[in-house]
């Protein structure tokens, strides 16, 4: 279940980021409630992985798990996060400081609350440069302005002197992206970077991310619940449900031949799989963490469920080239016996 899928667009080199069986849990009573369960994926240099799923499916916690920032009292309870082959799990707090911001940049969903209200935008960018020893003083401020220019901030030198509350939502998100890029990271994690923005601004921010990705050869982990965003932006897709990655595939193949019943439901619920659609059209909701079935998390909502689904968690089946799906329907033994539900 920790198979890697070489991307069909990236050259055959080891992945920049390899997540293996990541587990994130919150303490409940004597035990743990697992919010992220055995999540694995790879991201290669220059590649965009779209992590898509309904609210509560564990996307944000996966991202926080990658940078070692699972909010207390939750914690990473298993798995490995390999950056250029090196496991980040054993890093000291000091070593983490050299990874966060420097190797991995993070863009938060809500730029208003993710920017410090008491410092100017320029100061906050300059601080990242100082943290990583890249520049300080006047030089840091000049580079902050250059970074604001890079993210197409109008009037970058004015914006550098502005406080977050003086900027519009789109400008704030540009500032947030400039902060995330200040340490010149290899990987950018963007957790629903456009959800808090107007539609027109959303498109601008997505264009910007695409441009920056190409210009800086960034790898991008793009978290979204918008299939339209995935279709526009991603090279590969990982669909999350109930804390697990239920299907992973190249983006074109996923939209052409979705295999997991949940993914199929998502795509059917969106007319033509078009942009702007939210993942809400399947009957029912994601089960709460303490009501998660022992087997496939989708069982209560699945129209094709089998007798064993509620009790046995399905493994990831290979269903195509670099295409896997976590569903008992693909079980060869069952298919051979002609047992369709």
């Amino acid at each position: 279940m920790t198979t890697t899928f070489p991307s069909d667009t990236a050259p055959p080199q080891p992945p920049l980021l390899a997540v293996r069986g990541l587990d994130v849990a919150f303490p409940r009573g004597a035990g743990w409630l697992h919010a992220v369960r055995g999540v694995s994926f790879d991201i290669h240099r220059g590649e965009t992985l779209g992590l898509v799923g309904e609210s509560g499916s564990g996307k944000s916690l996966t991202a926080f798990g990658v940078i070692g920032l699972v909010p207390a009292p939750g914690r990473t309870t298993g798995g490995a996060v390999l950056l250029d082959g090196r496991d980040l799990a054993g890093l000291s707090e000091l070593e983490w400081c050299g990874v966060r911001g420097r190797r991995i940049g993070f863009v938060f969903q809500e730029p208003m609350t993710a920017l410090d209200p008491v410092h100017t935008v320029g100061t906050q960018i300059a601080e990242v440069l100082a943290v990583h020893g890249l520049a300080r003083g006047r030089e840091a401020l000049e580079r902050a302005i250059a970074l604001l220019d890079d993210v197409a901030m109008p009037e970058p030198s004015l914006a550098a002197r502005a406080y977050p509350h003086q900027l519009s939502g789109g400008m704030r998100q540009r500032a947030m992206i400039a902060i995330a890029l200040a340490g010149d990271p290899d990987l950018l994690i963007a957790d629903e970077p456009t959800t808090a923005l107007d539609v027109t601004v959303q498109a601008q921010i997505l264009d910007l991310l695409r441009l920056l990705k190409a210009r800086r050869r960034l790898a991008l982990l793009l978290i979204t619940h918008d299939l339209g965003v995935v279709a526009q932006m991603a090279d590969r897709v990982a669909v999350m449900y109930g804390g697990r990655v239920v299907e992973t595939s190249g983006v074109r193949e996923l939209f052409a031949t979705p295999r997991h019943p949940y993914t199929r439901g998502l795509l059917e619920s969106v007319p033509g799989g078009s942009a702007g659609a939210r993942l809400v059209a399947i009957d029912g909701v994601v089960p709460a963490l303490d009501a998660m079935p022992a087997g496939c998390a989708f069982t209560p909502r699945c129209g094709e469920r089998l007798a064993r689904c509620g009790d046995d968690p399905p493994p990831a089946f290979d269903v195509g080239a670099a295409h896997q799906s976590r569903c008992w329907l693909h079980d060869a033994a069952r298919v051979d016996r002609g047992l369709r539900p």
């Binding site: 940078i67 920032l69 909010p71 707090e93 000091l94 983490w96 400081c97 050299g98 990874v99 966060r100 911001g101 420097r102 940049g105 993070f106 938060f108 809500e110 609350t113 993710a114 920017l115 410090d116 209200p117 008491v118 410092h119 601080e127 990242v128 943290v131 990583h132 947030m176 902060i179 995330a180 200040a182 340490g183």
Partner: protein, 286 residues
């Protein structure tokens, strides 16, 4: 507004004390104080033997605010007294802010046992009656101490008494801001826990700390005045505003020389000016 009330209480208290000391309400409608805007010349201790102690002169060309019963220039004495009073209150306030923010930041950032211990200690100090602590400490010193020693001891005691209020306010802000997005965002840029504390958490406490300072400063001004008024403070030849009021209390001030109460006006004006300045600063920032 709580500050304005504090100010009002302080002013009323001082006037009332001076009045109770030599009481004659009729003098309250005596000649008004003349606002001198000249640079200070002259010494606060030069006496004039020709002065009629029973009726010291009001404003003259040489003494803009009149003189006291032994001929010392009241205006010069108020200005000199202000140096002691204002600088002392400001020093004590600064000390309280410094200790308070340090303790509050440590408690808010550390949490757990350290937090609980520091906050219990603070509460212990907060419930002490500040003025009595000051008087008790003063009483423990020799009756005559040098003004410098007195200044330092008073500032230290007031600072230590005021610090827990600041600490509690700062801690509350820091503890609540710790879970905010921008703190996690700062950590995600590689900022160390120390940097997050100093650069992102402590600055959030700025407004409440300023608010505390605006409460502490007038309280300290009043505390020192009370101490000196009680005769335990600065001596007559190195006066604070409290000393001047003490001097005023020993003559029929309201009756014969109301200008001797000028320090009360000076205190009120100082506190008011600081508030206006603080208001203007906070308006400019937002």
């Amino acid at each position: 507004m709580s500050l304005r009330r504090l100010l009002l209480i302080a002013g009323v208290l001082l006037v009332a004390t001076a009045w109770l000391g030599r009481g004659d309400p009729g003098a309250l409608v005596g000649p008004s104080l003349q606002p001198p805007l000249t640079p200070v010349r002259g010494s606060p201790t030069t006496t004039d033997a020709t002065t009629d102690a029973a009726a010291p002169p009001a404003a003259t060309r040489r003494a803009w605010l009149g003189t006291d019963p032994i001929g010392r220039d009241v205006f010069v004495r108020v200005v000199h007294g202000g140096r002691v009073s204002v600088v002392l209150a400001a020093t004590a306030t600064a000390l309280a802010l410094l200790i308070g923010v340090l303790v509050g930041a440590a408690a808010g950032a550390a949490g757990g046992v350290i937090d609980t211990t520091l906050m219990r200690l603070s509460e212990l100090v907060i419930v002490l009656p500040a003025l009595y602590v000051l008087l008790a400490v003063r009483a423990a010193l020799p009756l005559v101490v040098s003004p410098v020693t007195l200044f330092l001891v008073t500032a230290a005691v007031l600072g230590a008494i005021g610090a827990p209020l600041v600490a509690r306010a700062a801690r509350a802000v820091i503890a609540s801001e710790r879970s905010r997005d921008f703190v996690q965002a700062a950590v995600a840029t590689g900022a160390s826990p120390w940097r997050v504390l100093v650069r992102h958490l402590v600055p959030q406490a700025g407004p409440v700390v300023v608010a505390q300072a605006l409460v502490l400063f007038p309280a300290f001004l009043l505390a020192e005045a009370t101490m000196s008024f009680a005769g335990l403070g600065f001596p007559s030849d190195n006066p604070s505003w409290g000393t001047l009021l003490q001097d005023a209390a020993s003559v029929r001030a309201l009756d014969t020389a109301p200008w001797l109460l000028a320090p009360v006006v000076a205190m009120a004006a100082t506190v008011w000016a600081i508030n206006v300045a603080a208001d203007a600063t906070s308006r400019r920032r937002s």
